[in-house]
């Protein structure tokens, strides 16, 4: 145990060094935003930790102070940085709040949820159908690797990331860049909500069984089955979300 935590400590401090390594001149504000934002979201910069001064950040990141100032402003807007004035003031990291999924759910009307589900099912189904028609064994290998990693995943966050990767790999196997981009966009949009629903719906075993069935249909070249399974995967989760939504008080 001790050794493992020591290693983790070293990894974190190496990662912390990387946070402050120089950013190339061509980088823009969003690179600084991403670098600092990721570090805060990951806890590399702890909640409440004071960030270096603007001038020092500029020096360490290799960008102008104007760039740093703009980046800090964007991070403030996202709630990842808090700036206090006066004595003891400065910019401080703020750990992101766990996104409150039920709040998000309450913002969506039932017909919106149904519509999102219809859209996602169309994309996921079409991608799975084309993947079954067009994929080569080398396209199917990454799907199984992701499913194996999911079976061994130790945290819900890791599982969710791998779940996202699996569905993007299915979309990429369709050979359609547009379907893949749409899959990525939809995941960013409603991924957390659907995930909530999967977790609720009989947990990871059921989800894993659906994933395996999709991968098998794609591997077998069964286009109709792959489409049906992928649509079902999305629509089951959407139905469940709608049930949850209907039970929420306005």
């Amino acid at each position: 145990m001790r050794r493992a935590s020591d290693r983790l400590g070293v990894a974190v401090s190496v990662a912390r060094l990387a946070v402050f390594s120089p950013v190339d001149n061509t980088a823009r504000v969003d690179v600084v935003v991403r670098r600092l934002g990721d570090a805060i979201a990951l806890g590399l910069l702890a909640d409440g930790e004071q960030l270096p001064s603007e001038a020092e950040l500029a020096g360490r990141l290799g960008v102008s102070t104007v760039t740093v100032r703009e980046a800090l402003m964007a991070l403030r807007q996202r709630g990842l940085v808090e700036t206090r004035r006066g004595r003891g003031g400065g910019s401080f990291a703020r750990a992101p709040l766990e996104p409150d999924v039920s709040e998000r759910l309450a913002d969506l009307a039932v017909d919106e949820l149904r519509d999102i589900g219809d859209h996602y099912a169309a994309i996921a189904g079409a991608a799975a159908r084309l993947a079954a028609q067009r994929s080569l064994p080398s396209d199917v290998t990454p799907l199984w690797r992701s499913l194996d990693e999911m079976a061994a995943a130790e945290s819900s966050a890791q599982l969710r990331r791998l779940d996202g990767r699996f569905h993007i790999e299915v979309a990429a196997a369709s050979q359609s860049a547009r379907l893949t981009r749409e899959e990525i966009r939809l995941q960013a949009d409603i991924g957390p909500l659907l995930w909530l629903s999967h977790e609720d719906l009989g947990g990871h075993d059921e989800t894993a069984a659906q994933h395996r069935a999709i991968a098998e249909a794609i591997g077998a070249g069964d286009a109709d089955l792959a489409r049906d399974l992928a649509e079902r995967h999305v629509l089951d989760a959407t139905d469940h979300l709608i049930e949850l939504r209907l039970r929420l008080r306005e």
Partner: protein, 282 residues
Amino acid sequence: MTTRSDTARPDAARSDAPPGPGPATPRATLRAASRATSAAAVPAPPPAVPAVTAPDEAAVLARVRDTAEEVFAALADVRAATAGRARAVRRGGRALVSADLAALRPLLFGRLGTIIAGIGFIAAPGLLADAPWYLEWWQESPAGPPVQLLRDLDPSSSAFYDYTHWDWYTGPESGAERTVCGPYVDYLCTDEYSLTLSVPVTLDGVFLGVAAADVFVRRFQAAVLPALREVPVPAFLVNAQGRVVASNTARWVAGSVYRGAEGFAVRPVPGLPLALVEGTGR
């Protein structure tokens, strides 16, 4: 995202295959062709088809070769510069760090904007003293100067960090002198339908990483289509697994898979893991 030719398995049952009468002969032909043009194999193409080459076919093969050679020439420069930098740093008595690779940038920038949309060096994990994973990877930007790909390479936060699974990495790592991956949807970098060409970078026989370049499929097509169009029968280029890269017919469009079909002959492109497939009914 494609792998080597041992995965080539023409399968007429798949619905993407044309409803031809039987796959017997073309299947054998494709298998022979893909073995000969495997990314991992030394190119020594057997005579899969008669040696007689029509002038229009020869023009296609030449165009494909010239296009690929332009990319591989750039990769040879990146390889030499990377190995040279690594040697110089080590002679100086210290370990290589990611900042040392910034010296490659003028070279990389100079190779962008032709047919190459992205180019760089991908370090073998553990090569650099300051970063377990690192890409010195630059992409052209329509709006201005090249931009560096800054991927999240932290395994604890990303599901995508491990680049060593990708065939543009495993090919060179396992000793292939020239690897051509794709076409595939490159969701890691550009979200474009792309080819990735790669070569190993070694120093004193030790593998340091991979020099690689991305070529958008549409640009590759633009380069070879004028020659392909002159072929009077359906003709298309496939990779070692049978994936169509460029075509003169909507029937076999890029991204579809040639799994063998009656009435087609396969002609390997010498020295590359690609083949020209064309209708035999001239």
